[in-house]
């Protein structure tokens, strides 16, 4: 599909598709892009795509830290994020909280940086805390750019982003039928760096092309869960040896688009509620049961044959979550593979062998 080539180009060189001085970087799904967009900027999700390694990042982080922030910092130090006008970091996890600190300490030339503190539970007190933090972020943006983020502007952005999420949901429904999980991941990466209106246009085009596209080859139906998964080549390995990723539960996937923001409420409250109370990631506590339930439902709904749990080395959060999932999948007799890897960490052959052996086992069970 030709439109997929366009998405690929975005990933390879995002700054080409963005207006100079009009982009603000952000980390993680709990930073409401709507607030950045309402200020007249394109929210650009930070990623390690096309990063060259960790050597520069390692000067600040230790080898006991996750490869994601080490790579993103490395990318920052290489100047790859020089086009950003500012960055909203977030306390997603300890490693990423320290990415904010090390980014500043390394004196990377970003005009401004901000650390958004997002609560770790969904209680009423947490919601109020989050509303408060979002208000602080708004004040910060307003004071830097000497502008006012009016309710109407935020509402318009909410509407646009809701459209984008709906389109992504629509595209996602083609997975395993006409679209590979690998291509969907590429679409996700591209649409989280593109201006949302352009992203929507391209997603519209993609949906038209998908409707006319031939069915893809039927294979084992796999669900991928985890946190940070952004390596297209990793998904290629998973799919090229006999599987289709039909659904996911990752940051750059369903956890991004399975979220609805109310248009009825006061916009900041609506954003806080929508973001905090949507399907959570393991950083949110007292919600494990719901998360697992959601995956179990997806396993049934998408007739999943096997689950791959992705965990990055040194990720405490996924260590716990992955272990709990393993216990539950074992009870349910859902075949699963817990895969620990470094982001772009190589070892392709080893990973391929492990997945291949897992597929053999799953096929034998069928």
């Amino acid at each position: 599909m030709p439109i997929l080539e366009e998405f690929r180009k975005v990933i390879l060189n995002p700054s080409e598709f963005l207006s100079p001085g009009k982009s603000i970087g952000y980390m993680c799904n709990y930073v409401p892009e709507e607030l950045i967009h309402a200020a007249g900027f394109t929210p650009v999700r930070l990623n390690a795509v096309e990063s060259e390694g960790t050597s520069r990042g390692d000067m600040y982080f230790s080898t006991g830290n996750c490869s994601f922030p080490r790579r993103v910092l490395d990318k920052g130090l290489s100047g790859a994020y020089g086009f950003l006008d500012g960055i909203v970091f977030m306390n997603g996890c300890d490693h990423n909280r320290r990415l904010y600190d090390n980014w500043n300490y390394a004196q990377i030339q970003t005009p401004w940086t901000y650390l958004l503190f997002v609560p770790h539970s969904k209680t009423d007190a947490s919601l109020n805390q989050y509303i408060n933090e979002l208000q602080k972020l708004i004040n910060h943006i307003e004071s830097i750019y000497k502008l006012k983020l009016s309710e109407q502007k935020i509402r318009d952005s909410i509407k646009l982003y809701q459209r984008k999420r709906n389109l992504l949901r629509n595209v996602s429904s083609f997975r395993g039928i006409k679209l590979s999980g690998t291509d969907f991941l590429m679409v996700m990466i591209a649409t989280t760096v593109l201006p949302p209106d352009i992203a929507c246009e391209k997603l519209d085009e993609l949906i038209v092309e998908l409707k006319n596209a031939p069915q893809i080859e039927k294979n084992l139906r796999v669900l991928v869960t985890g946190n940070c998964v952004e390596e297209i080549e990793h998904f290629e390995i998973i799919e090229n040896i006999g599987a289709n990723i039909v659904y996911d539960n990752i940051c750059l996937g369903s956890r991004y688009f399975d979220r609805d923001i109310s248009m009825e409420e006061e916009p900041v409250i609506a954003l806080a509620e929508g973001y905090l109370r949507s399907p959570s990631c393991p950083r949110i506590m007292n919600d494990t049961e719901k998360r697992i339930e959601l995956i179990k439902e997806a396993v049934k709904k998408y007739q999943v044959d096997a689950v791959i749990i992705e965990k990055l080395e040194f990720c405490s959060m996924m260590t716990g979550e992955g272990w709990i999932m393993s216990q539950e999948f074992r009870k349910e007799e859902t075949p699963f593979l817990l895969l620990t890897r470094e982001l772009y960490g190589g070892g392709k052959s080893q990973i391929r062998t492990r997945i291949q052996a897992f597929y053999e086992k799953v096929k034998n069970l069928k």
Binding site: Y60, D101, F117, M285, C315, T319, I324
Partner: protein, 460 residues
Amino acid sequence: MELKPYEIIKKIYYASVLANTVFKAPRTAWWLLKASSAFMYEKETLFNRSNRFGFQKIGSSFWTPEELDAYRHDSLATSRVYGRLLKAAENKTPVVWLDWPVPIEIVKGFDVAAYVPESFMIAANIVGTDGHVACLEAVERAGIADDICAMDRITIGAWLTKQIPPPAAIIAVAHPCDAGRTTNQILEYMTGAPAFTINTSYTKNDEDVMLYSKNLFEAIEFLEDILKMKFNWQKFEEMVHILNKHNYYLNEITAMNQNIPSPGLAYSLQAAWLSKIPCAGDPDIMENARKIYEIAKKSIQNPEHRHRKEKFRIIVADMPIVFTELFKWIENSFGGVVVSDYIGDAIYPEIDTSSRESMMMGVARDRLYAGMIKQAHGKASETIDDLERQISQFSADCVIFNGHQGCRHNRALSRMVKDVCARHKIPSLMMEADIFDKRVMSEEKLKKELTDFFRENGFA
């Protein structure tokens, strides 16, 4: 090592009772410790393995009779906590588990036993240094990877090896780290107990502390609902008043440690931190602090009475090693005095006792200032500024950073720590140890690294 059910808490309880009894005659106790130090102190052997850790925790033979007398109160408070826990296990009465950044006062206001994993973890070697390892191995056997801090894995291991009674409820905290967050979720899953998470704040400003305290009010409501009991506000108020006095002494001791020569009480402050976690609001730990304060005052007034010369001053800018006592070993072997560390450095603000709300804000803020939470809960400046202050205030000659394996946010700051020390023109040692797990770096290796560092930098 095979652990019997409740073996660790039983031993903590009996050791505390014993210490409280023996220290009633502090001079005799001192002579006893002195006499036994020949085979208890130097290194772990087959014969001292199960008691050496406890021996070190009561100051080996380095505490003076006055310090032993002070520590008696600590033992008494500790024995009360663990005695109650054992009784609850026996009678199957409710036990509430709570993380250490949760003010224990909100549980002690109920008539229930409280279990604080962090306090247990530090003391778990009471059965020998294999106590921690036994808990860790149980976790490994359960298939949980070692990407989680050993401190938290020990709690999971304690549950798996039946060292702690089941919880009626868990009060968890969201900060300061991922390991704590994930461990709470694992324990919630394993025990099936109802859990409530408190979002401690990432900054120390009033607005954030207010939100943190609102979480505490919600937690009390949650406990009232689960335990079917009413919270005793009068008891809470009494505890806050004691806490204020307790903090006054701790703050004073910390300030006096800045003196040259230092009274060398960082180890006592660390012990006070440890007892404050499960015993805050207990008059005996306040009395312990008061007596140490008197000792510090006397030491400053009569520096010639210090039995060892202070040759150089050290800051331990990370969590100290728990499975062996190093502060006194360094002092004894090299004349290096640990004047401040990540844990014991006490700068607690006074709590406004004018209303329930102000007191709740006060206890919330108090835990934000507790060692480890103080440095770990927000931006890097919380740690780095603190280190800068400690280096200047305590006139440090060098910094030791243990590089605790499981502490991801702290390890992400190693460059900044090194640069701070370089700016102050003092050497720093960055180790790759683990505070609990001796399998990562043994006592011998730790001592060798420290010896090499002191020699290379002209301290020895």
